[in-house]
Amino acid sequence: MPKLAIRPRLRLLEAAATPHGLDSYLEQVDPLLVLGECRAEVVAVERGTEESVTLTLRPNRAWKGFRAGQFVNVAVEIDGVRHQRCYSPACAEGRGGAVEITTKRHPEGLVSSFLVERAEPGMVVGLSPAEGDFQLPDPRPDSILLIGGGSGITPLMAILRTLFAEGYERPVALLYYAPDADRCIYREELERLTAAHPNFQLRRSYTRAPATGELDGHFSPAHLPQADPDFTAAETFACGPPALLDAVRGTWANGLEQRLHVESFVPPTFVPVGEPGEGAISFADSGVEVANTGESLLAQAEAAGLSPEYGCRMGICHTCTCRKRSGTHKNLLTGEVSSAPDEEIQLCVSAALGDLTVEL
């Protein structure tokens, strides 16, 4: 085993590279050389419709691959600040090779706009290990029904591509809801797949262009009989906006739920900004939730019986710095308001505006 031979040598190298670690030297040569962190190089950029971009990423050695349907966190730096968003790769799983992600520009979406406008080959992004239970099971089911809305097609595309790459010959159908034919992502490829695979059925509904697809209107149980396989027997995977998923869940009742797998695919929306005394504060690591009084998060954590580390209590020393997962906070010193997720905040000078979750 070559791995065993390398390990002691690596340990020596790490001891020589203390306290910064080997990776902090390797990345100066090439950011992709790091051993302990997954990163990827953008090797191809394809701007599909004017509002979307498809990136082909080549991950470094730290990448462990993904299962069709799973998502990854992609980190990019915009004006010096690292931002992370999750994307579902749309390519076939396995082979440890390239990862393809597609993003559509959202009006409030900082990262999507950045990628649509500025992504170019050679750019290096951070990549998290793949996550999510929404994945194509092994062994492959006897029949598969896919239901997608908008950008929610990407994990379904990964499933389809994986199945056909493996030579899957049992029935598989896709019900896809898009505003119109122009905004039907992967349209050409889907049509090609339909022609090439008699076991694949494509049923599209263009919700803003009636009578132009195989189906009409938003998802309804009436669409199901028009697809083979039978939805009561098939393993069903649904991904899209919340309204679509609610309608689907309502249909898969009475014991069918076990065969239904859903993944909510919500475009990043602006976090609603509440008032200082509104909402609830969730201290995620301790599993404590309290009603927001509007005081500093440090004071509220202490009132809730937690004992976070602290020092100056006036915003100088950063001893009480914690990671905010979500929510809007106001810096009590500067008055600055921020809704960015995954952000380091100083508990002693931060107050929550509405619901907020902090890692404490």
């Binding site: 203390t18 100066q28 100088i316 020393c317 008055g335």
Partner: protein, 402 residues
């Protein structure tokens, strides 16, 4: 050449204990206004942080890693004198950059807004004996919150030197110049032992056992540092190990002397003020800023000098805004200085030789008590204690003699 601004009369030292919180006679409204003006600078820079600050700190890190690799490479072949000299110089610069412009500043949280885990103030570790988490407590919290408050700010003398008239003189302080030289040479260990509060252990207030956790942290860190500098890299040179060994030790000491010099120029040059616990108990934000201003001193120099000083040459700006990116201090110093002029406050700045010269003078002056009487009494007491011990008398009886 820059000179110390003296727009106001020298501070009055008429307060009973020799300390005064308001030597330049600011009114409560002026304190309030001073706070508002300085807050405005802070908010403006906070909102403006971006790519150029990120590029700056990454550039410094890149330079440091490059210097370190070059230094260690040259020292590997350190048997050749030019390689030894160049290698030691490169490694010294690398350690200086690592500690001053990178470590100190990153650990203040100056680059936390970048959301990069490697630049997170709470996770960063640096190339020196002091464990980062202990430093964050003793420096970011204790020193920066209680700056120049005698009895609270342990940076005043590091528990081993007498750096303020307000520290009661003891015969031990006759060694001030010697202790200072030792502290400067082994500064990284002085910093590492900062939170140990050796003087309180010596006085019997606390015991070593109270500090077991702390000592364990220091031991782990020192072991890792020593293994790297004094075992692994020398071993790479085989029988010629003595050359990298000597080079690494020299680089550590050069870094120690440099950081001691810069840090002692931050709060101890002539003209910096000290404060008492009582008087600063309920200070406003404006008064807090005012204390930081009066307690700190700047160094003038060129850009490279400021980078090697970790921008602590802008100690005043750093103490007003400890978590603003250090590369901004130079820019805002113009405004801070202008504010000082308007409020009639001194803006203590001078070249290194002058500021450090006055620190050295202070170290020497404070080795002796303020009055000859104290010296005689102190020496007498020490002699009595020593002879008491010799005579086999307990401490108790010596006290009785007094």
């Amino acid at each position: 050449m820059t000179t110390t601004l003296q727009t106001a009369p020298p501070p009055s030292r008429t307060a009973v204990d020799g300390l005064t919180t308001n030597p330049y006679g600011l009114t409560p409204e002026q304190f309030e206004q001073l706070g508002t003006e300085l807050d405005a600078i802070r908010s403006r820079v906070l909102a403006d942080r971006g790519q150029r600050d990120a590029d700056y700190i990454r550039g410094v890190i890149r330079a440091q890693r490059g210097l370190e690799v070059a230094g260690r490479g040259l020292l590997w072949a350190g048997v050749f004198p030019p390689a030894w000299v160049a290698g030691t110089a490169a490694l010294s610069l690398s350690k200086i950059l690592d500690n001053m412009e990178i470590g100190h500043n990153v650990m203040h949280g100056q680059y936390e807004w970048m959301n990069d885990p490697k630049l997170s103030g709470k996770q960063f570790e640096w190339d020196t004996a002091c464990p980062a988490d202990q430093w964050r407590h003793s420096h970011n919290y204790m020193h920066h919150t209680h700056t120049n408050i005698v009895g609270k700010d342990r940076d005043i003398g590091y528990g081993v030197l007498r750096m303020s008239e307000e520290q009661e003189w003891k015969p031990y302080y006759l060694g001030n110049p010697l202790w200072a030289t030792l502290l400067a040479t082994f500064f990284e260990y002085g910093v590492a032992l900062h939170d140990l509060e050796v003087e309180r252990i010596a006085e019997g207030e606390i015991t070593l056992a109270d500090k077991r956790e702390l000592l364990r942290g220091i031991a782990t860190k020192v072991r890792g540092q020593a293994l790297k500098d004094y075992v692994l890299f020398p071993a790479l040179s085989g029988p010629l190990f003595v050359f990298p060994l000597a080079g690494n030790a020299t680089a550590n000491i050069v870094r120690n002397l440099w950081s001691f010099t810069i840090i002692f120029c931050g709060h101890f040059p002539e003209g910096t003020h000290e404060f008492s616990e009582e008087e600063t108990a309920n200070e406003t934000r404006g008064q807090w800023y005012h204390r930081q201003l009066l307690g700190s001193a700047n160094l003038s120099g060129n850009r490279l000098f400021h980078i090697l000083a970790g921008n602590l040459s802008f100690q005043i700006e750093h103490h007003l805004f400890p978590d603003l990116p250090a590369n901004r201090y130079g820019e805002i110093s113009v405004e801070v200085r202008e504010i000082c002029e308007r409020y009639g406050l001194p803006y203590n700045v001078g070249p290194l030789h002058r500021q450090f010269g006055s620190v050295v003078k202070k170290i020497g002056r404070l080795a002796l008590p303020d009055s000859p009487g104290t010296l005689v009494r102190g020496l007498g007491g020490a002699a009595a204690r020593a002879s008491g011990k010799l005579l086999g008398l307990g401490k108790r009886s010596v006290l009785a003699l007094k």
